[in-house]
Amino acid sequence: MPLNIIVCIKQVIDPEIPASQFKIDPGTKRQVQGSHSLVISAYDQNALEVAIQLKEKQGGKVTAISVGAATAATALKSALSMGADEAILVDDPAIAASDQQGIAYVLAKATQKVGTFDLVLTGCVSGDWGDRAVPAFMAEELGIGCVSFVSRIEAKDGQVVLRRVVEDGYELIEAKTPVLASVISDDTNTPRYPKLKDIMAAGKKTIPTWKAADLVLDPDRVGSGAARVAITDVYLPLKESKCEMIKGDTPQEQAANLAARLRELKLI
């Protein structure tokens, strides 16, 4: 059975930069991009890979959607070069400061605007904030089931079988479509390296940008005003180190004092 698959991708600041390079803007309470590159959040790439593999086997169509700034178009281009058939950018200042629920609402509206869909895939956790909230909220918005931490999906007898990774193994879940799954990596869904002709073809495609008006959004549900979660503070964990000299005249005495001090600190 052909599957129409929506994959939600997010563009984030390269999460692999050295820790020393991680800076936060105290005003916006967001990470400063500086000279770092923007990449597709890692698990979103696994989601894309799962979608493309399914399409190759079953037929159908993969549409990538990203809510973000104009720069997210490059993330969508790389989704196209990997094998997505279409890509849509949702970019509007009115939705920029939405919280997780707001974003889930926007994504759901965009998904509905695309038309019929059998599967909605997202990464299981984003590479920046990492609060794993959007997939569940989005399923709620769409009124469909949600399976989290899925590594493989197979289509079978008009249903899909999802392999959900749990702590000590996996569960196989059969679900009727449409269904939403958040994807985790395993060795079957390593994102593919795109072929050059696909990169070039993706470069030539235009990516439509949808505005709030295109999605007929309820203005009370998006933007900072609608946010039910507020970030009060973001900071880098402080690493402090102190040095204390252990006294003692002989090595034995020093060792005894060291042991006593460690016990005092409840370290041994």
């Binding site: 692999e16 050295p18 020393s20 590159s37 390296y193 072929k195 050059l196």
Partner: protein
Amino acid sequence: MTPSREIYWNIPGHIFLYILFFPFLIVFLYGMYRQVRRLLMGQPAGVLDHFWDRLRGFVEHAVLQRRIARDAVSGLLHLSMSWGFAALFIATCLVALQDYFGIPTLYGNFYLYFMSLTVDLFGLAAVAGVGIALVRRYGAKPDRLLKPRLADNYGVLLALFLVILVTGFLIEGLRIAATADPWGHWSPGGWLASLPFVGFGEAQHATLHRLLWWFHAIVAFAFVAYLPYSISLHMLAAPANILLRNRERSGVLQPIDLEKAERFGASTIGQYTWKHLLDLEACTECGRCQQVCPAWTTGKPLTPKGVIIDLRDHLRLVAEGGDSRKMVGDVISHDVLWACTTCGACHQECPVFIEPIPKIVEMRRHLVMEEAEFPETMQQALRSLEERGHPFRGTSATRTDWAKGLGVKTVAGNGRPDILYWVGCAAAFDERNQKVAVSLAKLMQRAGVNFSILGEEERCTGDPARRIGNEYLFQILAGENITTLNRYGIKKIVTSCPHCYNTIKNEYPKLGGSYEIVHHTEMLADLTRQGRLRPERRMDGVASFHDPCYLGRHNGVYDSPRRLLGAIPGLQVKEMGRCRERGFCCGAGGGLMWFEEKIGKRVSWERTEEALALQPQVLASACPFCLIMFEDALKVKGANETTRPLDLAEVIAQSVEGSD
């Protein structure tokens, strides 16, 4: 009486020779036609530039056969055969000269000294050559001839040679015996052959002579006809290949015009240029390339000779109407393609200038850019190059961390320096190599060199991307770097990475970036000679220098590193058996730094063992990749306490008082 002999003695019908030759000639020409048609399956290539230099190389390598003579026995046997036959052929032509144009080549001193004595000696040399060849090929059976498979038919060729030579001498001997030639002993070979016939009667002499004469002629013609259909073809294709050889350095890969290209790399044999196809036809199957190949010698399936003869056989099948196998994957397996370190040893060794590297890289290009099918670890390195401009995924450093506290300036903050220090990704992001950058920076500061770095504006030169086969990514990275360098008006560069050195020096000019670039060993050698650096502190012990492929073989820098080591008081320098032009790869080139060697022995272990046999305290190199490989291998071998792998900059820094 003037020394002479009767032309065509005892052969009244010699004019029929030409009629007899005709069918053989047809067969020969048809073979050559097929050969040319095979070459024309290839893409166009321009090869006729720099004619005089090509001719010089032709004389050096096709006539004087310098490369063949690097192996004494093969050199001797090949020179005796080829020159022997050449002399005999010339003599035959000279006889024709007398016959048709009346130029008396068979008279007087010329007859005695050249036509008899010299030519005969050459003929005897050819016999000796055939003899040695037979003993070596069927007695000694060296690996390089037999493996990976025996595809040639040298046996037939040698047999033909032997028959032609022996019958030639017998004919001469019969004539000498029959005519009681007073100058017979001037032809030592013929004279010897005449001895058994002295007692024969006149009629016997005449019949035997005539029979053998025609037989000799027919075998010689058969050889001509057979030539284009056998390994003998190398007698024509190899000299042609030497004349038309690629004159660029072996480390250079050719750019693809990405705007216009309809395909990227080669997936079928006809996608190579005709010059590459000529390479295949010119191969003599001598196996010299295989003998020095780090992949082959450590048990990988790759042998450059194997690649060449497999492609050649495939080419011939395709030309004959079909080979159902895919070139990439079936004819040449992926394991073969991903085993090449692009070390260039095969290029250096090949007596007829065949180039396996571009053949391999073209197939890699196809796999990477068209199929996106290549080792996962390499994919990650390329992704990192795309996303971060360097291949060291997961590094905890930034490009300038190593320089903290050293007062090293960036070009952006320093205006124009006298020289730009191109740090390279390895020295910036790899912890071990950061120390090399620090040593070099301090040495330059000490010597008063006005340098700066690009800092965050530097990108990978693109060397790994290009050699792995992603030409597209290479051109993006190279383009960014060239734009940056040109924007700052950089003229002079020093680098501590031979890969960056090779790319900037030899590959950037074609993309619009021409700079004067030196390797840090060249710079340090100059500074030491000028007395601006004085390595005066004694270092007792043994040091050995490992030639990085991209510094030595690909760019010819052998002496500066040795001069540096030699300048250090107390240090005893010992060479490994495989050094300089014959240096053995560390295993990391050609993008294999990002490849897990699973088949056979690790190349780096092989090299490290060779070094350890000298029991050195210092294993010196001048390349960040070699250093990473040796650090690792010495640890595995448990020798990292006694033998320290160091970059030459670090060695010099230790010997220059107060520089650390």
